[in-house]
Structure formats: structure tokens, C-alpha cells
Symmetry: C2
Subunit: 150 residues, 2 copies
């Protein structure tokens, strides 16, 4: 396969990112690929926040993956900084290609480079394949993730 | 009981916050109340980040609770902003007083005020009392929380 680039997402990447967010059993119900305005506004907010890293993986200039890395300073664990990975999506054409592994390893390396001592993420209880994937990469399923829609 | 104040943590609150972080079955192993320098440095980083809200609850000028609220813009869920609650601690003298409920309700209200559509948190699988507490407050245990120390 041709070379893969991992880089910050630009405004022009938004349609490809939203298409991946929507091409998912859970995302299909909650995304709106026909109305990109709220996504463009969110991209603007993220671009202004130095602790937000919305990334894409591109192959031959085609966006084939996305994830969001957030850097969170904190007091607990002796003032440890942690990172949070959210919104991981790999294009259906690329599943099984090793891109997911490479992308998460990139996020872990970047977290280390930014001085984090901990990387964390949550995954819907229904995504059992994803759970095995994260455990293979060394993550521990040590927590229960709670959500409240408001 | 006398009036409760919920306010941003100042540098002077650090010793009381660290004492609460350490007075915990998990925290006892990973905090250093005798060396506050890394906490002061982390407090400085948080104070410079407008999306970080390190809060204390005080009664009669005595710090009796702490939590960290992080505002996270994002692309998924139609550009939804979410908040993440971390590092919740209630002083042992105050457990059962309703302070935990009031503090989490404050965090949910503040998240709404800041335009969040989702509040999330993770809790160690061993903290079963905390899980019941969050479920009583309307949170759903819909996710598995993964962590990787780096």
C-alpha cells in the first residue's frame, strides 16, 4: 500500500471525516452528513484550542481515518497530564490494514511527546471488537464509562 | 449545616485538595502530599487553560470537596461539545451530607451553561458505591473505560 500521512485535519477534510463518523452502527443515528455547518463551527473551536488535536490519516491524499486527541492537565496522580482519545474512525476500505494500530500508536507517541503520563479512552460496551483491539495495544479496561445527555 | 460555596480552586487550596486526593484507597498509592511542587505546576497549567475548571467546595472557608471539569469541543454527534468530570473527591467528614450530589449537579449545570450536550466521566471498576451514585444522578454506564500508563 502507498504511504500514509497523519496530519491535523483542515476545514477541507470535514466532509470526509463526517462521512466516516456516519458510516458506523452508532454514528448513523446521530450524525448529519447533509448539514456540515455544525461540524465547521466545531472545527473552528478545536483549531483555536492548543490542547485539541483533530487528526486525519490520509493515503494518496484521500482521508481514510480520523481521531481526536485532547491533552488534559490535572492535579491527581502527582499533577499528571493525561490525554483522551475520542472519535476514532477508520474508513471501511482500510479495516484490517493495520491503520488503526498505527494511528493509536501515533496518538500514544504524541501523548508521550506532550508530557502525558496516561492515555485514556472510552468505548461503547457494544463495540467488543474495539475492546479486544485496545487490549492488544496494551490498554487496560479498568474503568466504567458513564455518560449523561443534557 | 452552614453554607456551601463552589468556586475555582486557588493556589492556596492545593494542600487541602492533595490531602483529599491522597485520602482514598487508590489515591493513597499515587499521590505525594509531602511534595506539592508538581501539583503547583499542574495548577498553573490548568489556570492558563480556559477549558479547564478545577473547582473546590468550601464550607466555612474549609475545603471539603474538589472536582475537575474539562470542556471538550468535538466533531462527532453533530459537532457536540462534551464535558469530562475527573478527580472527584469529597472530604471524609462530609460523606453522606449530600455534597457529592450537589457538586455533580453543579458540574452538570455548568456544562449546560457552557453549551455542552453530553457530560461524561469514568470511575474505577472497584468503586461500586460511586457507580450507584452516578446512576442515581441519571448517568448511564454505557462505556468501558480504557487506560494506558506511559
Amino acid at each position: 500500500m502507498s504511504d500514509l500521512t497523519i496530519r491535523p485535519a483542515t476545514r477541507d477534510d470535514i466532509p470526509a471525516i463526517v462521512a466516516m463518523l456516519a458510516d458506523d452502527p452508532l454514528g448513523a443515528q446521530r450524525e448529519s452528513p447533509d448539514d456540515l455547518a455544525p461540524y465547521a463551527e466545531a472545527h473552528r473551536r478545536m483549531a483555536n484550542d492548543p490542547n485539541q488535536h483533530l487528526m486525519v490519516a490520509a493515503r494518496d491524499d484521500r482521508v481514510v481515518g480520523t481521531l481526536q486527541l485532547t491533552i488534559v492537565p490535572g492535579l491527581s496522580r502527582r499533577g499528571a497530564t493525561r490525554s483522551i482519545i475520542e472519535g476514532v474512525r477508520i474508513h471501511s476500505d482500510e479495516r484490517g490494514s493495520g491503520l488503526g494500530t498505527r494511528f493509536i500508536e501515533w496518538a500514544v507517541d504524541e501523548s508521550r511527546r506532550q508530557g502525558c503520563q496516561l492515555v485514556q479512552l472510552t468505548s461503547d460496551t457494544s463495540r467488543t471488537d474495539a475492546h479486544r483491539f485496545y487490549e492488544r495495544l496494551g490498554f487496560t479496561a479498568s474503568h466504567v464509562g458513564f455518560k449523561l445527555s443534557i
